[in-house]
Symmetry: C2
Subunit: 198 residues, 2 copies
């Protein structure tokens, strides 16, 4: 039986396992990619509030695992995504969000901990937002950009899977934003128009 941790060449020709803890989503054998508030301050509508927080602290907003699966249409990229609880001026902590470079590829997320939402929109202007609790799988259809949002008090953890050659287009969302944002209103999540959407 092979070890948990594997470095891949140009092709995967052997089975392997990876442990992602069902409680916190973490791997003990791989490092995650981490996004602190300083890295993602621009994505919040009230960037000034993000800067106020950053005067004292640079909290971890989210982290996820990139295993380096070769970019082959018959392979699958997978791992966990962990979005932490928190807000910037009422807007919940969330991931940057991205389109796939190969737009015609879907993604599946299986929720294992916490309370979150998956915000989605396609270039044609359709959008959707699905609430997620442990055990819920969400299907992100082809063409839909997607972002995880933590609307709870604990880390929001999902196991994700997508075609390994799909690729990530982060830039479109960084430039335009999502049409809708999720903010806390009267103690509950409220989906509103993004005033900065272009």
């Amino acid at each position: 039986m092979s070890p948990d941790s594997t470095v891949f060449g140009s092709d995967i020709d052997r089975a392997f396992t990876m442990l992602f803890n069902l409680t916190d989503g973490k791997s003990s054998t791989r490092g995650s990619t981490k996004r602190h508030l300083a890295d993602v301050k621009h994505m919040f509508v009230d960037e000034a509030d993000a800067l106020r927080i950053l005067e004292k602290d640079n909290p971890l907003v989210y982290e996820f695992y990139e295993l380096g699966i070769p970019s082959h249409p018959g392979d699958l990229a997978f791992g966990t995504s962990i979005t932490y609880p928190g807000q910037v001026a009422g807007e919940y902590y969330m991931t940057k969000g991205h389109f796939h470079q190969i737009l015609e590829t879907a993604e599946v997320y299986y929720s294992i901990q916490g309370h979150g939402m998956m915000m989605m929109e396609n270039p044609e202007g359709q959008w959707d937002c699905q609430e997620l609790t442990p055990g819920k799988a969400v299907y992100v259809p082809k063409r839909f950009a997607h972002r995880s949002i933590n609307i709870g008090q604990n880390p929001f953890v999902t196991f994700f899977c997508f075609r390994a050659d799909a690729g990530h287009d982060y830039k479109t969302i960084e430039t335009k934003g999502f049409r809708k944002i999720v903010v806390e209103k009267d103690g509950k999540p409220d989906i509103i128009d993004n005033p900065r959407w272009k």
Copy 2:
């Protein structure tokens, strides 16, 4: 937000969620495909022992969810697989196992309950067997037939994902079997040559 249960047309153009309980793997909104011992008695080496069991009872060996995701290379099929604890003459309960019809497609299984193994082999004669406990993901590489085996006392539950157009070839395994089988020996799983392998 859309309901848990969705019937798909020829293309998936809307997001949806599906609940698969993290404790037992079951969906409350979809029926599963069930394989009882009478359906799969031929896959055990000691079929006579299977027939002896069947004189009294026809236990459920495994079940899994087929959502009917359209067969498109940009879509993903997903669901849970539940293999029950049990043995036929020392050979652990397992799934039939299959190749993908598009051989060059991988599959990912994320273990959420129980204690199992993933048995794999490719047409070139390479084989591998990975032990799975909750939180472990196993990567089934392109070209590898795969079968879930329950080596524990409780249901072995995984969440799986593969390219929606991959297709299933059950017949090759039904005819040839896997090169290796897993039997209990001195209270522990033992991987041995399959005496009926062709």
